[in-house]
Symmetry: C2
Subunit: 492 residues, 2 copies
């Protein structure tokens, strides 16, 4: 008897009801064999006393155990572990003693295919983070998502969306996306031209795996987006990097490469190049479309932040003017809802979409249909549009606050251009100030700020950093800049 009383651990701070803690604890000991069939359980008042909980709680636990067939109840005798346990108990493999723990190393050999990975790292001791340009998840419309999920509970169509579904993604969502892309950026796709993905990341992975073979050339800007570059290299491609100036990627450099190599993909972020935030000029866009026709390469147009633009008129995506099927357009709602809600898309000619969808089926079968239906509903009823208006206003203000503070407090040590949109500014420390040193000093004061290493793909230029402003409010931006100022002062 004492066994149970000694073994059960009750923690009233846990989110699990105490009676369930008692129930689950007892089930675990029955399963393990510590409590054998036929064993009497202590009277509820005894167990309640020794666990220091209310007797009714123990009664509720015993009721639950009875309902689940784990115990038999005999009037005037008491509660006993059931003679016929509700679950068949598993058998060990003949003559084999189960192993405690998983082996630390595999017996078979394999080579690590992925050695390094670029990523933004939050210093765990930081209270404040200047990230790489993420949205503020405190503004995420979680109550709208919860509302949609709540509605699913009452819908007779819900079971259908819980079954296997189309690997290309929800038809409702693709239809709404087509409308949204047309209304917001002049991309005239039909539902059939769209593949729903898990964020831009999966879009790029699928494209790379389908289009690239070992030794193919992929052109990308430098500084650029390492998470894309890595995916192209993983698919066997060789990267050919081109400089990025005030007008975007350097197209003369692109053509030089095309003359020498068979280029398969050019990867570009025309709206706000990442990391520098510059917009590819209208003239270069035309020129780029012409180059893609001349040299027959695919343009992967990553338009992850088109919906976030605060200044002069945005230029429509390359995709909207793609007459020949050169452009593969990728985007997402990871910045609109939240990075953790991973809905992205590819717009491309259908012969490519079909291949991408087949690969997607092999990788993870399909997306979350309920999430996709929820997104379709939020697009259809205008919630996404309203949310975008709301957060654009806030991010616009935050951009102005950060730029103002930086000019005021660090004007001598840094230079930057106010970005037209997005989530971050691209900042250059004046000569002699090393980003890594500033980051180190800032970390001591519990601020995470970029150390400047991940922007140029394989070079040592470390005088630039990105400072995300979107996820911090005015007070936090003020605190962040104050610490940054102190950190810079310490290294000069």
């Amino acid at each position: 008897m004492k066994v149970i009383e000694g073994l059960l651990k009750i923690d009233k701070a846990l989110p699990v009801a105490v009676y369930l803690q008692v129930t689950n604890g007892i089930i675990a000991y029955i399963r393990q064999g510590t409590l054998k069939p036929g064993t009497a359980l202590p009277p509820s008042r005894v167990l309640a006393k020794s666990l220091n909980i209310h007797r009714k709680t123990v009664v509720a636990a015993y009721d639950e155990l009875y309902a689940q067939s784990w115990v038999d109840v005999y009037p005037r005798k008491g509660v006993f572990v059931a003679r016929n346990l509700p679950e068949v108990s598993p058998r060990y493999i003949a003559n084999m003693v189960p192993r405690v723990g998983i082996a630390t190393e595999t017996l078979y050999q394999f080579t690590d295919k992925i050695t390094t990975q670029h990523m933004f790292k939050r210093n765990p001791e930081s209270n404040l983070v200047f990230n790489d340009g993420f949205p503020d998840t405190r503004l995420a419309p979680i109550e709208l998502m919860a509302r949609e999920y709540r509605r699913f509970g009452g819908y007779h169509f819900t079971p259908r969306y819980l079954m296997y579904g189309p690997e290309q993604g929800s038809e409702n969502l693709r239809t709404e996306l087509a409308r949204f892309l047309f209304e917001t950026r002049g991309v005239q796709a039909s539902a059939a031209d769209i593949l729903v993905t898990k964020g831009v990341q999966m879009a790029i992975y699928l494209i790379a795996q389908i289009l690239l073979s070992k030794g193919d050339t992929v052109i990308a800007g430098d500084p650029g987006y390492p998470a894309a570059n890595e995916v192209f290299e993983q698919a066997g491609a060789e990267l050919a990097l081109v400089p990025v100036d005030e007008m975007g990627i350097d197209l003369d450099a692109v053509e030089d490469i095309c003359k020498k190599k068979k280029v398969k993909i050019l990867y570009v972020i025309p709206h706000h190049h990442r990391p520098t935030t510059v917009t590819l000029s209208s003239e270069r866009r035309m020129q780029l479309l012409e180059l893609s026709m001349k040299y027959k390469f695919a343009i992967v147009e990553d338009d992850y932040d088109y919906d976030f633009h605060y200044a002069s008129s945005p230029i429509l995506p390359l995709c909207s003017a793609d007459y020949y099927g050169s452009v593969i357009y990728v985007g997402s709602f990871c910045k609109t809802i939240a990075p953790g809600i991973r809905i992205g898309f590819v717009v491309a000619p259908q012969n490519l979409i079909i291949q991408l969808a087949k690969l997607r089926r092999m990788i993870d079968r399909q997306g979350e249909q309920l999430l996709e239906e929820a997104m379709a509903s939020l697009l259809n009823n205008g919630d996404i549009g309203r949310h975008l208006k709301k957060v654009n206003k806030i991010y616009h203000e935050r951009r102005d606050i950060l730029c103002g503070l930086l000019r005021e407090k660090l004007g001598e040590q840094i230079s930057f251009k106010i970005p037209d949109g997005g989530f971050a500014i691209w900042l250059k420390y004046r000569d002699g100030i090393k980003a890594a040193n500033v980051a180190k000093k800032a970390a001591e004061m519990h601020l995470t700020v970029s150390n400047g290493v991940d922007y140029f793909y394989k070079s040592a230029n470390q005088s630039f950093i990105r400072i995300g402003y979107a996820s911090l409010n005015a007070k936090e931006l003020g605190q962040g800049v104050d610490i940054l100022k102190k950190a810079v002062d310490k290294v000069v």
Copy 2:
């Protein structure tokens, strides 16, 4: 003025509130430029009349337009399209007219990497489906999922789970999984030994991509699971198929292959082999573990339906007795909750888990953290355990009903063994009856039943089919068997 009244389409049957349909319609026409800044909108009473809706609805729409800054309101004058539109209007690329629609073919060339794909196809005209063995989504605990999502709305930790998170999956979920796997099947993993995936499908994809190189050999049973075989081939491997008998896969055949080729992976479903439902015997399990040590190959143990067992005691997974790090254990909750809720896992030595997680990061960055937290909570509070008990009872009954009906009505034309668990039976038509012919006749009577082509990987044996019983209730099973009986009678 007539423009709006003629253009707006109101559909009261839509789930979108009518006032929002009016609002969104007007915004669309402002965006398109049909309604220019400064244009007067019709008085609410006029518009209401012409659209045949209540005036208050139009007032609500105008209020919404005003709140969103799409219109200016001048007292005693009326409502006008705002002179300063709330969104910057996009610019076309210089000299380029936007293209109508997406090109149908890509300009650049690529070879289709994925040509055929095996999959269960529901006949669109069927009212009733004998599927390949899927759970009944009408029994999915959607109200529990909705409850968890509703809770997130009120939690201050929610914004954290909406941010980028660990590619290995939620730590809470991995901790709960470790407990669940130990309690239910003696697998003693720690959270660090587990990777959360999107179903078993992603688990197999990641393993194949990390472990396999072009020309490596993978052993699998035939008949087998084509969705796994395809992934191994996609990763460049050559399949070596071995027969499956009453005791599971033929291990003499496995050793013969190991003597001739460098085997990298053996893929096996020991609990209920798919499609035949046989359990790998205890003796063969020991022998298989020994072979893996001798020839140093990885065993990929797919245990997708361990939680569904109705008969004699299940045998613990190979993984529970893996002393040397040979076994990679994969499973999922896609059958527990619903196929559309894609949560799976890999248990393996940490040197492999690290590589799998890195690749996962490249593919789609991470899983849905909120979904993973919801699953962790459902495991922790015992909801999953209770749900499994409930549906096991139902599926057990359905298995017995189907088997009874088949014996009674089709006893002469078929043979099968009652499966110990899972979702389907493996049925052989007597000689002379072709599965494809039966399927065709059944389709005419609006029943989808397997045509027998997808079980043997590259062979023409088409006298076997799987009949899923789990997703149909007693009445539906009765109707299905009646039609199947008629269909069989027509082809003999």
